[in-house]
């Protein structure tokens, strides 16, 4: 099992390394979002502050309400972009399986006794690497922009401890793993690219648009806030934002959000195992 897994994982990394265009394109999307969307879409929290009549009497009150403690929209948005990237960069995992089926490569693997766990696991591990690295790339880029005059950037206001960094890492790994599992399962179950992309779009947009990845929390209607608090993207983003900006605007600690995210991941992986084992059983 281990040798099969190692061989197939090596294949995935070799293919990834030999496709620089895909790496470049995957870097371009978050870069454009951070530069254009993040810098173009700003909300000035200070304009909501009126020390005499409210609605917010202090800037911190306004920041807590609008951006859950982040010092400005860009910083709030940069945390959300990590969740956005983890979802969108995972989309291609399933597409790669579909194209391997079309080119006969998947058939070759199926013709060997390599267990389904090795076939799925190798693609999951290698495939999830990309969204994980991209998530850190987004954070680094947003921090860098903060030091470039004329650009908005990520401003970390809390003291980030090593434990906090571990929490961020866990959130990114769990979220990337969750969506990598989801889209990889789609790729294994479906055979036609058009069907795959239709199914992915059906999941992708609603998931992102019912999260607080991009919307300022305070401007979301209550029903959307209620939906959003269970969304896995929001759960991961909450961990990041709490670690970077403090916990004053959050009802739960990062550990609770991580547990929620773990629940989502375990649930989805369990369903995926059943479906993938059935799909990849030796004899049809």
């Amino acid at each position: 099992m281990l040798r099969e897994f190692v061989a197939l994982t090596r294949r995935e990394y070799l293919k990834l390394a030999r496709n620089p265009q895909a790496i470049f394109t995957s870097l371009l999307l978050p870069l454009l979002y951070l530069l254009l969307f993040g810098n173009g879409f700003t909300i000035n929290a200070a304009s909501f502050v009126n020390p005499e009549y409210g609605p917010f009497f202090t800037l911190q009150e306004a920041l807590d309400f609008l951006f859950r403690g982040a010092p400005n929209y860009y910083s709030y948005f940069a945390g959300g972009m990590v969740g956005f990237v983890a979802v969108t960069a995972s989309l291609f995992l399933g597409a790669n399986v579909i194209f391997d089926k079309l080119f006969g490569i998947f058939k070759r693997t199926r013709g060997t006794p390599a267990p389904s766990a090795a076939v799925f696991g190798s693609r999951l591990i290698a495939g999830a690497t990309q969204p994980i690295l991209l998530s850190f790339f987004v954070l680094a880029l947003a921090l860098l922009f903060g030091h470039i005059p004329g650009l908005h950037g990520l401003d970390v206001t809390a003291t980030v401890t090593p434990f906090g960094l571990v929490e961020v890492l866990l959130a990114i790994v769990l979220l990337s793993g969750l969506f990598a599992t989801l889209f990889l399962t789609f790729g294994i179950l479906l055979d036609v690219p058009q069907t795959y992309f239709a199914a992915v779009n059906l999941i992708n947009l609603p998931v992102l648009l019912t999260s607080d990845a991009l919307y300022p929390w305070g401007t979301m209607p209550t029903w959307l806030q209620n939906v959003s608090q269970y969304n896995p993207v929001s759960l991961a983003v909450n961990v990041l934002r709490e670690v970077m900006f403090g916990s004053s605007a959050y009802p739960y600690s990062p550990g609770i959000y991580l547990l929620g995210l773990l629940g989502w991941t375990v649930g989805l992986v369990s369903i995926a195992i059943v479906l993938v084992r059935r799909a990849l059983r030796p004899l049809e």
Partner: protein, 339 residues
């Protein structure tokens, strides 16, 4: 009987979607070390049979035994003991020839160092040494087929299935590929099961063949036995349109085994074409029937196919056969779509 390297198919049936009966009660045995040809036109059921034998497809009914193992009971172990060269190219174009082999070896649980060693040896054997570190997408058609063969052999199987292995290759590429197969058989003594619709290849390379048509085996035997079974030469006589029938007259000539009449032509199986033709022309002329054309054929597998199916093999490669093959690919695709 020695089971090692042996293939047994017993009344194999495959029905797709409850409607399309792709394989309809196929039975045969292949002895260890034999090169067994499985012939038939496109859509006849060759690939479906190979899929059932190689643990890729569960038969609707019947059983397959490979190397002493019942396939449906031991699919994983059967996969370890067989190699399959698929009809379509399955080499990973973004990987080098060596990497393709190393990954394939890893899928059989072979250690990385052993995989490297085997990959290097095989790639040299297949005369791909100079291209070992090139991406497979830069290989020519013949090179890719040799790489496919190497991939199928990397775990040293006892039985190898070749599904239309020379499809799309030029004559030189086909000859070269078969050279490798013959060498392997000589060196390793492995059982080779090959599907093809190149009858000349099968005639020359196979110890025994089975002909499948519309999902059923219509003949089995060595190429020579099947050809000899036709009873000598085959002579085709063409007459003027509307001429009187002369079947009885021709049948009465010496050395004639059988006469088939259709439209304005007579197909005679005779002991000797050279002796029969002048007698037939004379007898027809006496009966007032003009002969407008004569062909004499030494028996070939084309003739064997015609004998057992009533149709020319090449006719079966026409549009109807293509439609059937496309339909079969679609139903197989639909099935995969549910996986």
């Amino acid at each position: 009987m020695e089971q090692r390297g042996r293939i047994v198919a017993e009344n194999l049936v495959k029905v797709y979607n409850g409607q399309v009966r792709a394989v309809d009660g196929v039975s045969f045995e292949v002895n260890a070390g034999e090169v067994f040809g499985f012939l038939g036109p496109n859509g006849a059921g060759k690939t479906t049979t190979v899929s059932m034998l190689s643990a890729g497809l569960r038969p609707t009914s019947g059983r397959a035994v490979i190397d002493g193992l019942e396939v449906s009971q031991n699919p994983e172990e059967v996969k370890r003991r067989i190699g399959v060269i698929f009809q379509e190219s399955t080499a990973d174009g973004d990987l080098t020839g060596l990497e393709n082999l190393e990954v394939a070896a890893g899928c059989y649980g072979i250690s990385a160092s052993e995989a490297r060693s085997r990959a290097r040896t095989l790639i040299e054997q297949m005369q791909l040494g100079d291209a070992a570190d090139r991406y497979a997408k830069t290989y020519s058609g013949g090179m890719r087929r040799r790489l496919e063969l190497a991939v199928g052999l990397v775990h040293r199987p006892r039985v190898i299935f070749l599904d239309e292995p020379t499809l799309g290759l030029d004559p030189q590429g086909r000859a070269g590929f078969w050279g490798f197969i013959q060498k392997l058989r000589k060196d390793i003594g492995m059982t080779v099961f090959v599907t093809t619709h190149y009858l000349d290849e099968a005639d020359e390379m196979c110890d025994r063949i089975a002909i499948i048509d519309h999902g059923k085996i219509v003949a089995t035997g060595s190429p020579n036995d099947l050809k000899d079974g036709l009873g000598g030469d085959v002579v085709t006589l063409k007459t003027h349109a509307g001429a009187s029938e002369i079947t009885t007259i021709l049948q009465a000539l010496p050395g004639v085994h059988a006469i088939q009449h259709s439209n304005d032509s007579y197909r005679a199986k005779v002991q000797s074409g050279e002796t029969f033709v002048p007698l037939a022309v004379e007898a027809a002329t006496r009966a007032g029937v003009g002969i407008t054309g004569v062909t004499v054929k030494r028996p070939s597998l084309d003739e064997v196919f015609l004998e057992f199916t009533g149709r020319e093999f090449r006719e079966e490669e026409g549009p109807n056969a293509t439609d059937r093959a496309v339909m079969m690919q679609r139903v197989r695709g639909q099935l995969q779509g549910r996986r």
